[in-house]
């Protein structure tokens, strides 16, 4: 109901502005020097004035419009105390009106700041101008920008652009734009054609446009008088919804895989050390945290010494996190864990103590506050599959990273000598000992490997969440659950455990909320373990014995 009212209101709003445009256009066409008035309005007016000025710039097709609006968007537009607009960037100060460089740049400039509303108006205005641009990428952005803002005034401009357009993607978008405007046409044929075009739309906002066709007014009569149009609208709505729901499922699957990849990175190290030594390392979460803080240190280092290559810091951070975490793990193993050999419960407690020490240590050195780790620019943003589905780059990268780490670990375990020894000790320590495998050293190396993988996990975590002293605590229970569910001794177990938990969690979440989803999963695991104590893929015997 109210969406119909909104639409009407918007249309009326813009019709009002149309009149204002024409009035202003008239006035402006007459006197070119009155441009200064417009500029003054932009420089010193209130939000409403500024918006009128922006619309005038577009309507009059002022030659400097693109330049000025782009500068305004980038925060480069300033005004002198006398009200002259200047574009100030690293090249110097340019007078917006006369297009002359001003040297030296005057003092007391006040930068024009945007708020959300102005930003919206500037983006729309730029989009209208950019529809005529020669650059395909620019036109694409412009078309996307205008999608929800189509108004009848733009129709001639859009139709003109459609005739000239060669790129298929932009053509589709412009077609949608045209159709959404033509929905309001008085000609039934045009309306029908518009609906059939819109039926192919992947935008969720399209259903909003088509809803009013199904509604009745206060007297019980359909707002849309023609029956065929109504039927067409109903069919179109169904198709659009179907498409949206399908995309939603894909989105959930992606979220599940993303969560699964994170769980995999977090739990893989734990599975390896537990499988080998029967040691549950309660400090595992802190090794994740150390990996994340190492990433932070690398970022700081790059910011200080290689600021121009800042986007590459991640490539250096990956091996750094691995090495630092591995070293810490090996130190742990040598100093504490090996003395508790054969006493798994004590190891559990001792490693918990170490985790407390590590957390407080990090807190003392880095402070209790979170530290800022930003995504490199190539990881920000996302890939738009459909209007309601964006696959964020950082998560895609992490999925591939997890696969890469998995591959490396598999290669290490199955194709190298060290891996051979590790597998041997995991299967039967005593026998391996008898055959001359240096079990004590293997312990240290394996622990280092497991810790290093945890470090890699921490590096990945720093890209999607907080980096603070408590980072590890939030992942420790999840890591345990993956290990318990998947079983130890085989990579397949950890992978299936992690992916399974991730996907189930993400499919439960929309139904029950994030907390209940987690609780249900925990309960499920507790019950599952009663039935099958050794986990999904187990190497050891039927009974979980040590």
């Amino acid at each position: 109901m109210s969406s119909k009212i909104i639409l009407k209101f918007l249309l009326r709003f813009f019709v009002f502005y149309l009149f204002l445009f024409s009035a202003v256009v008239h006035a402006l066409e007459a006197d070119l020097s009155k441009n200064t008035d417009l500029f003054k309005r932009l420089a010193t007016g209130e939000s409403d004035d500024k918006i009128i000025a922006i619309h005038s710039l577009v309507a009059t097709e002022h030659p400097a419009a693109l330049l000025i609006l782009q500068a305004l968007k980038n925060g480069e537009l300033s005004v002198t105390p006398k009200g002259v607009l200047l574009i100030v960037n690293d090249k110097g100060a340019l007078d917006a009106l006369t297009q002359q460089m001003i040297n030296p740049a005057p003092e007391n400039l006040e930068a024009l700041m945007l708020n959300n509303r102005l930003r919206g108006a500037v983006d729309t205005a730029l989009a209208i101008l950019n529809l005529q641009s020669g650059d395909k990428a620019v036109r694409l952005v412009a078309a996307n920008e205008l999608l929800d803002k189509a108004v009848p005034e733009l129709l001639p401009g859009i139709q003109k652009a459609l005739l000239k357009e060669t790129d298929k993607e932009i053509k589709t978008l412009l077609g949608l734009l045209e159709a959404s405007i033509q929905l309001g046409s008085v000609d039934t044929e045009i309306r029908l054609k518009a609906i059939s075009v819109l039926a192919e739309s992947e935008q969720s906002s399209t259903s909003l446009l088509l809803q009013p066709f199904m509604e009745k007014n206060s007297e019980g009569q359909f707002l849309e008088s023609d029956e065929s149009v109504r039927t067409a609208a109903k069919v179109a709505l169904l198709r659009i919804n179907e498409r949206l729901v399908r995309m939603e499922y894909v989105g959930r699957l992606f979220s599940g895989i993303s969560l699964g990849s994170i769980l995999l990175l977090a739990a893989l190290g734990l599975a390896i050390t537990y499988g080998l030594m029967g040691v549950i390392n309660m400090a595992h979460g802190e090794l994740l945290m150390i990996g994340a803080y190492t990433t932070f240190m690398v970022q700081t280092f790059f910011r200080q010494y290689f600021p121009s290559n800042i986007d590459g810091y991640l490539l250096a951070a990956v091996p750094a996190s691995f090495i630092v975490a591995a070293l810490v793990g090996m130190a742990l193993e040598r100093s504490v864990i090996r003395h508790l050999y054969g006493r798994p419960l004590e190891t559990l407690l001792a490693t918990w103590g170490i985790s407390l020490l590590l957390i407080q240590g990090i807190r003392t050195v880095f402070g209790a506050q979170n530290v800022e780790v930003s995504n490199p620019s190539w990881m920000s943003g996302g890939y738009q599959v459909a209007s309601n589905l964006i696959l964020t780059y950082n998560r895609i990268v992490i999925i591939f990273f997890a696969l890469f780490v998995l591959l490396l670990v598999w290669l290490l375990l199955n194709k190298t000598r060290l891996g051979l020894f590790v597998r041997a000790v995991t299967q039967n320590r005593k026998m391996a000992d008898c055959l001359g495998v240096p079990t004590r050293n293997i312990d240290t190396w394996t622990f280092g490997l497991g810790s290093g993988i945890a470090g890699l996990g921490g590096c990945a975590l720093s890209q999607i969440g907080n980096v603070g002293p408590d980072l590890g605590q939030s992942y420790i229970v999840d890591s345990f659950m993956v290990v318990v569910l998947g079983g130890v001794g085989q990579l397949a177990g950890t992978v299936s455990g992690a992916l399974g938990l991730g996907i189930v969690n993400k499919f439960l979440e929309p139904l029950s909320g994030p907390v209940m989803a987690k609780i249900l999963i925990l309960v499920f695991i507790i019950i599952f373990i009663q039935r099958r104590p050794q986990g999904l893929f187990a190497l050891k015997g039927r009974v979980v014995e040590h």
Binding site: G278, L349, L356, I476, V477, V543
Partner: protein, 362 residues
């Protein structure tokens, strides 16, 4: 069948008597009868603190029973403690009546959630005997069911400990939800009365303190009875080599289940005594970290001795109260070092060290 008197030697009984005298006579007198300007006066704050530590001591006792004597390390016992606390808390919340912030017959948190009446699982919570029943039944039943399935599937060792972590974590998440109806993140607080006695009254506080002391002594005697009996021998066998015991023809399930459920019930009652003395219960008590700390109390004191864990609980919690005032930034370092140091160098705990010293000076 050991008689009560054979539970402890002369020295043991003497210590016990001294402790009881201290708890039941000395402290109440020094708190209530002696005026606050007298240097011997024990403040209300100290009475509550000691009462709290005694509740923790009972929990440490419970952990020792299953870990020190049956070899089952539970890292989720804080859950049973908290459940007992919540059961008592429900009763205390009902006793606030209309004196809460919103002056409604519903607890405050239900008012800001816009609930119009008590959910079904709150019925009967305004009767003390019902609350007392819940204190015993809820942890007991949960422990029984969980233990039955876990021990039947012969889950042991580290796996079992991890599963108990999962259990307490799941309940913590559940209780943090406001929709669950137990106060969410706020928990229960702002208590006014218990069985008609005002909680702010120093006499009530001392009374609770005495009740806790009495319960501690009874729990200790009960556990001592169990472990010195034939039953206790079987427990020790389970701890030392379960499969061999099974080959001898014993079914460990019943034994393990019994001590497991008993320890849960002890924790529950300790929780119920804890809540009115501390004045608040909140899902944070169910956090995995809390339960792990319980294990360290037993380890510090010396597990398998019953007395050791009591001392361990007192030492660690006393240190905590002191550190978080004197050197707040260093408390976690101390605790961490304690975990590492005790497991590496003092596997028999304080009691073990004391015995070594005694042997040295023989």
């Amino acid at each position: 069948m050991t008689t009560i008197t054979k539970l402890y030697g002369v020295k043991g009984w003497l210590t016990l008597a001294l402790f009881s005298a201290g708890v039941m006579i000395l402290v109440p007198v020094l708190n209530l009868a002696v005026s606050s300007s007298n240097p011997l006066h024990i403040s209300d704050y100290s009475v509550s603190l000691m009462g709290k530590i005694m509740c923790y001591a009972v929990v440490a006792l419970a952990i020792d029973l299953i870990w020190g004597y049956a070899g089952i390390l539970s890292l989720g016992h804080g859950l049973f403690f908290a459940l007992g606390g919540y059961a008592m808390g429900m009763y205390l919340m009902r006793m606030i009546g209309t004196e809460g912030q919103y002056h409604s017959h519903l607890p405050d948190f239900m008012v800001f959630l816009d609930w119009k009446e008590l959910p079904w699982y709150w019925t009967g919570s305004d009767h003390f005997w019902f609350a007392a029943l819940l204190v015993v039944l809820v942890p007991g039943l949960l422990a029984f069911v969980f233990g039955y399935f876990a021990f039947r599937s012969r889950i042991k060792g580290v796996y079992f400990s991890i599963i108990t972590q999962a259990l307490t974590f799941a309940f913590m998440l559940l209780f943090f939800r406001n929709e669950t109806g137990f106060g969410g993140n706020n928990g229960f607080t702002d208590f006014k009365r218990i069985i008609g006695f005002a909680l702010a009254d120093p006499a009530t506080k001392t009374g609770l303190f005495m009740a806790t002391g009495l319960f501690l002594i009874m729990a200790l005697l009960l556990c001592r009875y169990i472990v010195t009996s034939k039953f206790g021998r079987v427990l020790a066998a389970i701890r030392d080599h379960e499969s061999r015991l099974m080959f001898c023809g014993y079914n460990p399930l019943g034994y393990k289940l019994f001590v497991w459920t008993l320890s849960a019930v002890l924790c529950g009652i300790a929780g119920a005594l804890y809540v009115p003395q501390v004045g608040i219960i909140n899902p944070g008590e169910m956090s995995p970290g809390n339960s792990i700390e319980i294990a360290i109390w037993a380890a510090v004191g010396g597990r398998g001795t019953l007395i050791g864990p009591l001392m361990g609980a007192a030492i660690v919690n006393g240190a905590k109260s002191w550190f978080t005032v004197a050197f707040p930034e260093y408390w976690l370092y101390f605790l961490g070092l304690l975990f590492v140091g005790v497991t590496l160098y003092m596997p028999a705990g304080v009691v073990g060290v004391a015995q070594q010293v005694k042997a040295r000076f023989k």
